[in-house]
Amino acid sequence: MESILSFGVALLVAPLFPGIILKVKAFFAGKKGPPLLIKYYTLVKLLRKGFVYSTSTSLVFRMGPIVVCATALMALLFFPFGGVAPLLFFQGDVIVLFYVMGLGRFFMVIAALDTASPFEGMGAAREAFFGTLAEASIFTMLILFYRMNGSLSLAGYFTGPEAISQTAPAGALLLLVIVALFMVLLAENSRVPVDDPATHLELTMIHEVMILDHSGPDLALIEYGSFCKLLFYASFVAMLIYPFHQFGPVLAMALFYGAVALVYVAIGITESIMARLKMNLVPKYILTSFTLAFFAVILSMGISQ
C-alpha cells in the first residue's frame, strides 16, 4: 500500500518541481516568474490539442513519445522514494533500469531521425554521444555502490539497515558521487551547462531540437517523461545526501521531498550563475563526473578491502 502511494505521489508531483527551477531562475533574474504549477498547465494545454504528423514520418515517429514516457515511468516504479520500498525490485534491477532508460533515449533518437530534419538529426547525434559518455559515469557509480553494500538493486541501496549512507564506513566517498551524479543529472536532463531548456535556437539545442516535430498529447508525453526522468535523478541525489528510511513513512516522505526540492533549487541556482558550455567541452564535463566516480571507486578499495 505504501509502495503504491509513494509511486502515485511521485507521478503527481513530478511536474511540480520543474516549476521550482523556473522560480529560482526568475528570482535571480529579478522577475516574478511563471506560476509554480506552470508545468501542469502546460500538460493540460498540450493534452487538449490535436496531433500533427508530418507526411514524411512513419510509425517510428509516433512510437517515440510513448516509449519515452513509458520507460521514464518504469524507472520510477523501481525507485524507493524516501526509503519506502518500491513497487518492483529484484537483484540487478539498476542495470536493467538504466538500459530501459537507454531504450527511451534510443526511441527518442530514432523518432527524431525519422523526421529527416537536419536539426533533429544534429540533436539526435549530440544526445546519443553525450548519453553514451554519461553511461560510463553512471556505471562507475554503480560499481561503488556494489562495493559499499553488495546490492545491485535500487531498493537494496536505499532501504533496510544496510542502506548506503554517508555515515557508513566508506560513506565519505558519497560526497564525490553526489557531485558526480549531480553533474550527470544536468547532462542527462538537458539542463545548463550542457543544454539550455529555454532556448529557441535550434542549432544549439540538444533535447529540445529532437522534439520539435512532436505536437499536442505526444509532446505532453515527452514532457511528462522528462519530468519523471528528472525526478528520478533528483531523488537519487537526495537519497544519497540522506537516507530517510529510519523515519516513519509520512515523515520520511515529507523530509525526502524537501530534500528533492533542494536539489531542484540547486539546479536553478546552477542555471542562474553559469553560462552554457561550448558544445565541444561537454564531453570533458561529463568525463569529469566519470573521473570523480572512478576516483571514489579507487579510494573505496583502500577502505573496504
Partner: protein
C-alpha cells in the same frame, strides 16, 4: 586619384561636376584607390538620359566621387582588385542587368527583376515566388552534411536563409541568402511626394529609424538649402546616441541569453526599455520615429525633458556598469565569448567591415569622427580597447560605446540651447541636377544615402546603404571552422539587419 572629385558629405553638388570617365579609366582609378586601402561608401548604377552610369563614392580620409558609362557589362573589380566590390557589383547586375565580367560568385542579392529590361543577369524567372532557385555552394564528401536554416525562423526575427556545410559539428562554409524582405524601398522613394520620404526612411530598418532618417533629412536639407539650428542638432545627436544605447544594451542582453546566462539578459532587457522610453519622452515614439524632419526636429526639447533624461542616465549608468561586470567577469561567459567567431583584422580589412564589427577587428573607422554631422565634431571619439575580432571583442566594443554614448548625451544635455521651434514636414523644392551623399554612424555602423535629382528637382535615384550590406559577409567568414552550435551567438554579436539589406 587624378580623376576623382573630392566631395563633402551632406553638401549638394551639380551632377555635371561628377567626373564621368571611360570605363577602363574608372576601373583603373577604383583599383588603385581601393588597393591603397580606400573603402567603398556607395557604388551603384543610375540612368542618365538613355545611358546607364555607375557612380562610385569612395573614402579614405576624404570622400570622393567618380562616374562612368556602362553598356551591357564591365570587367569585375571583385575579381581583379578586392572583395569590397563583391556585393555592390552583384547589386548592379541585379538592378540593371549589367554583368560584371569574371565576377567570382555572381548570384542574386534580393531576387527582383531589373529595371532596364535587359535579360536577367542570373537567368531567374521572377514569376516563381521563392528566391531559392540557384546552386548553393556545396562541399562534397560522405561525411559532410548540409543544414539549411530559414527563411522562416523560430521567434520574432526577420527571414533569411542560411546554408551550412558541416563536418560533424564543425562549419566548413556558411552561405547567407537574403532578399526575403525586399520591398523596393529605393524605387518607392523616387515616386512618392517629398513629405513621405522621412516616414519611409524610418522604416528602412526598424531598429535604425533615426540613423536612416537622419541621412534622408540631411540630404533633403542639402538639396533644399535648409539650415538646422543648433538646438535641433543637439536633439538629433541625443536621439542617435539613445538609439545606439538601446540596441547595444538589448544586444548585450541577447548575447547573454544565447549562452543561457539569464540574469544579465533580464536586466539588460529592462534597461533597454528604459532607454526606449527616453526616446518616447523626447518625441512620443519609442523608436524615435517622427522626430527628425528636414530642417530640424518635430519636438523641441524642454528643460523638463532634459531633466528626465539626465536623471535616467544617472540612474541607469551604474546599473549598466554593474550588469556589464556581471556579464564580462563570469568565467563561463568568457569561455563562450572568447575565440568564438573570430574575424581577423586582415579578413575584416579585405571585406571592408564597418561599425562595431569592424572596430572589434581593429578597423578604427567611425563615421562620427571622420565625417562628423550634427554635433559630433565637438565630442571626443570613442576608444575601443579590445580588437581581437571575436564575440568577446564585439561585445566589449558595445559596452564601450554605451558608456561613450552616455557621456555624449550628457555633454549635449549641458548645452542649454533650445531648438528654434518644431519643424514639420512640408513640400520643398530641391536643387535640380544635383547629387548629395550623406553619411552617419548609425548604431550598426556607416549608414549612407545618396540622392540624384533630375531637371526639375525631382529625385531620380535614391540609393540607400545600410551597414549590414558590408557586414553580412563578415558573419559568414566568422563561422568558418566554428561549431554550428555557436552560430546563434556569432549572429547575435553582429546582429545585422535583414530589411536594411533587402531594402
Amino acid at each position: 586619384m587624378d580623376n576623382l572629385l573630392a566631395i563633402r558629405h551632406g553638401e549638394a553638388i551639380g551632377r555635371e561636376q561628377i567626373p564621368c570617365v571611360p570605363l577602363a579609366r574608372f576601373s583603373a582609378e577604383m583599383s588603385s584607390f581601393i588597393g591603397d586601402g580606400g573603402s567603398i561608401v556607395q557604388l551603384f548604377g543610375h540612368r542618365q538620359g538613355s545611358e546607364t552610369r555607375l557612380l562610385a563614392i569612395v573614402r579614405n580620409d576624404g570622400l570622393y566621387a567618380l562616374g562612368t558609362v556602362v553598356e551591357r557589362n564591365f570587367p569585375s573589380l571583385t575579381a581583379a582588385t578586392s572583395e569590397k566590390f563583391h556585393l555592390f557589383e552583384r547589386e548592379i547586375a541585379e538592378q540593371f542587368g549589367i554583368i560584371p565580367l569574371g565576377h567570382p560568385w555572381l548570384k542574386m542579392v534580393r531576387y527582383h527583376a531589373n529595371e532596364t529590361g535587359l535579360p536577367d543577369a542570373f537567368g531567374n524567372d521572377y514569376r516563381q515566388e521563392t528566391p531559392g532557385n540557384y546552386p548553393y555552394f556545396q562541399v562534397d564528401g560522405s561525411a559532410i552534411h548540409e543544414v539549411a536554416v530559414g527563411p522562416v525562423h523560430a521567434g520574432i526575427i526577420e527571414p533569411g536563409h542560411f546554408r551550412f556545410q558541416c563536418a560533424g559539428e564543425e562549419v566548413l562554409s556558411l552561405e547567407i541568402q537574403l532578399g526575403y524582405q525586399h520591398r523596393g524601398a529605393e524605387k518607392l522613394l523616387t515616386g512618392v511626394p517629398l513629405k513621405r520620404l522621412p516616414i519611409i526612411c524610418e522604416a528602412i530598418a526598424g531598429d535604425t529609424a533615426i540613423g536612416h532618417n537622419l541621412c534622408c533629412c540631411q540630404a533633403i536639407e542639402a538639396l533644399a538649402g535648409l539650415s538646422v539650428d543648433r538646438g535641433a542638432r543637439v536633439v538629433r545627436t541625443i536621439a542617435l546616441e539613445l538609439e545606439r544605447i538601446c540596441n547595444h544594451v538589448g544586444d548585450l542582453g541577447a548575447l547573454s541569453g544565447d549562452v543561457a546566462f539569464n540574469p544579465p539578459a533580464a536586466y539588460f532587457g529592462r534597461i533597454r526599455g528604459e532607454f526606449l522610453n527616453l526616446l518616447l519622452t523626447l518625441c512620443g515614439n519609442r523608436f524615435g520615429k517622427s522626430l527628425v524632419r528636414p530642417g530640424g526636429v518635430s519636438q523641441v526639447m524642454t528643460d523638463e525633458q532634459r531633466r528626465i533624461i539626465a536623471d535616467k542616465l544617472a540612474e541607469a549608468e551604474p546599473e549598466i556598469r554593474h550588469v556589464c561586470d556581471l556579464l564580462f567577469t563570469a568565467h563561463s561567459v568568457q569561455a563562450r565569448f572568447e575565440h568564438t567567431g573570430t574575424v581577423s583584422a586582415e579578413v575584416a580589412g579585405r571585406l571592408g567591415l564597418v561599425g562595431y564589427a569592424g572596430r572589434a577587428s581593429g578597423i578604427a573607422y567611425d563615421a562620427r569622427v571622420q565625417f562628423p554631422t550634427e554635433c559630433y565634431a565637438e565630442v571626443p571619439a570613442c576608444r575601443n580597447e579590445m580588437t581581437n575580432g571575436d564575440v568577446y571583442s564585439r561585445a566589449q566594443v558595445r559596452r564601450e560605446e554605451i558608456m561613450h554614448s552616455i557621456s555624449v548625451i550628457r555633454t549635449m544635455l549641458s548645452d542649454g540651447v533650445d531648438a528654434a521651434g518644431p519643424v514639420l514636414m512640408q513640400e520643398r523644392t530641391l536643387a535640380p541636377n544635383a547629387m548629395v551623399v550623406t553619411i552617419n554612424e548609425g548604431w550598426r555602423g556607416e549608414v549612407s544615402h545618396c540622392l540624384l535629382t533630375g531637371a526639375t528637382g525631382e529625385i531620380e535615384r535614391y540609393k540607400i546603404k545600410d551597414p549590414s550590406f558590408h557586414n553580412w559577409t563578415g558573419l559568414a567568414m566568422a563561422l568558418r571552422n566554428q561549431e554550428i552550435s555557436d552560430f546563434p551567438l556569432c549572429n547575435k554579436s553582429f546582429n545585422l539587419s535583414y530589411c536594411g539589406f533587402d531594402l
